[in-house]
Symmetry: C2
Subunit: 316 residues, 2 copies
């Protein structure tokens, strides 16, 4: 048994804490994709979550879990992705300040999104060292609470609310397939399934060009993500010291897929399901279609993790 | 009072007849679009209907309303758009043959879609005269029943099921905004609202480049659609002899919008709502944003009529 990880009650309490603030996202089916996959597919549409990504769940839970005397100083993070927007909007909705450290070369559209959600942007040089030192300055100057994008148990428990809703609605599916980057959603899903639907197998899906989790899982030795190259730009990061032990303990398998398969799955969803999903979200369906024999005739849930994509730069 | 149009019971019976076959499409909201519009907006997502368009409702009702001795000969229509796919799939699902007359220059992707739904394609020269004479040949040869895309009371009553669901779910909104081409969805919506929510005003939305309905409404003299040019390729046709009297009697207003506004509304929905809608569907939201003063602080439903768009040829 793992020590210190969120317990069954932590998952339930996190869900109850955030339920008024998050969207209960719909679960869609598609006759066409059932036909193509041979499985009974369900798609949890976190692209329809606030800020267009599941990250809003974890950010909200992390903020609501802070003691009030900490909240007056605000929260902070370094991110150029969905976590930045999620933390900015969650903070705004709680009446809390947020400081977002972003690399100076972040796309203007992402800076605009964070600013639009009320985040205070602090730019830094585009290196990890600069991001971390700038964040340390923000913490020191403002006493803001750092909310890590995934390596934080409140974030992990918050992300677990997604699988909690799936199990509430669908009972005990055979599989839940989850894209893995840093592993926040994956570990939250693993814990929720472990406590509420242990018969459900959780499979992670990862781009071939960023397959550090797969290497780590296959060898049992931690592999960081080094120079990842994939269109799935939400899945570039390494597993964390909180997420990896949960993944090691509970994940059934990790499937890697090519960028070509990711783009094909993304296009299939846009064309047939009429849903805008980002490449990182399509990785879950790509994994099912890549390993059809595993999922044939099973009840399978794939999580569509987000829908934030630059329409001027589509891969098709 | 209009003569011969579908009655209150016809709308209810049509709904009950097709409810097992259609998707009950979700109604979405968007804080961002409420903020931009100043209205309390609801979006009926018929892009998530079977075949990706509301047309499946009317086609299903028309087929189920035919006497059994007619059905053995199959159904037919001429169309290169959503009605072709809708009739083909509805027929397939009822175990009925469908003959679809399509102009020889129809995009291959549309022919593939009709064939994929089991429709038997008969190609003809790309003129209205050729379409009509080829269709007449099909009717003569096979005794197939012609299902007009909109000028057919069973089709109109079937399209009315969309507003019937809106009223069931939302009660009595102040406005429902409906794109108008031939007027099938518009007249079905007008009848459903007249019978079940007479306090709801129905407003039609039309592209400037195909504003025959607006001209007809404004002058009271029927104007056919002549050389329409708009990106909203589902709204090119003229009003029909069954649809125009219903529209004249019950519609509150018709708002025209530019292609630029249509594309901007479409992009807004893709980016913020993560829904793939086609240009013709975006016309409803474009009309609300073009005439904000009408809708300010009102409860407004815009119908997203479909999501069939060629991803290789996006306007942004």
């Amino acid at each position: 048994m793992l020590q210190n990880v969120p317990l069954k009650d932590d998952i339930t309490e996190s869900y109850n804490r955030i339920v008024r603030y998050i969207h209960r996202t719909p679960i869609f089916t598609s006759e066409t994709i059932d036909y193509i996959s041979g499985a009974s597919m369900h798609f949890k549409a976190e692209n329809l979550q606030k800020v267009g990504a599941f990250k809003y769940r974890g950010a909200t839970n992390a903020i609501l879990s802070l003691p009030k005397e900490k909240l007056v100083h605000g929260v902070c993070t370094h991110s150029s992705g969905n976590h930045a927007q999620a933390l900015a909007l969650a903070a705004k909705n709680m009446g809390v300040k947020s400081y977002i450290v972003m690399p100076s070369n972040s796309p203007q559209v992402k800076k605009n999104a964070v600013a639009g959600y009320g985040g205070i942007i602090i730019e830094c040089e585009p290196t990890l060292a600069a991001r971390e030192s700038t964040l340390a300055d923000v913490v020191k100057e403002h006493q803001a609470a750092f909310i890590h994008p995934y390596d934080n148990y409140d974030v992990i428990a918050g992300q677990g609310s997604c699988a909690f809703e799936i199990i509430q609605e669908l009972g005990h599916p055979d599989y839940i397939v989850v894209p893995v980057g840093g592993g926040g959603l994956l570990s939250g899903t693993l814990l929720a399934a472990h406590y509420f639907s242990p018969q459900t197998k959780i499979i992670a899906a990862e781009p071939e060009g960023a397959s550090d989790a797969w290497k780590t899982f296959a060898t049992g030795v931690f592999h960081p993500s080094v120079n990842p190259t994939t269109i799935a730009d939400g899945l570039l990061t390494s597993l964390g010291e909180y997420t990896w032990p949960i993944i090691r303990q509970y994940v059934s398998d990790i499937i890697t897929v090519s960028d070509e398969d990711i783009i094909a799955a993304m296009r299939l969803v846009w064309e047939r399901m009429k849903l805008v999903i980002e490449p990182s979200a399509a990785v879950s369906l790509a994994a099912v279609l890549h390993k059809k024999q595993i999922f044939a005739n099973k009840r399978v849930v794939a999580i569509f993790t987000g829908g934030n994509v630059d329409l001027s730069r589509l891969p098709f």
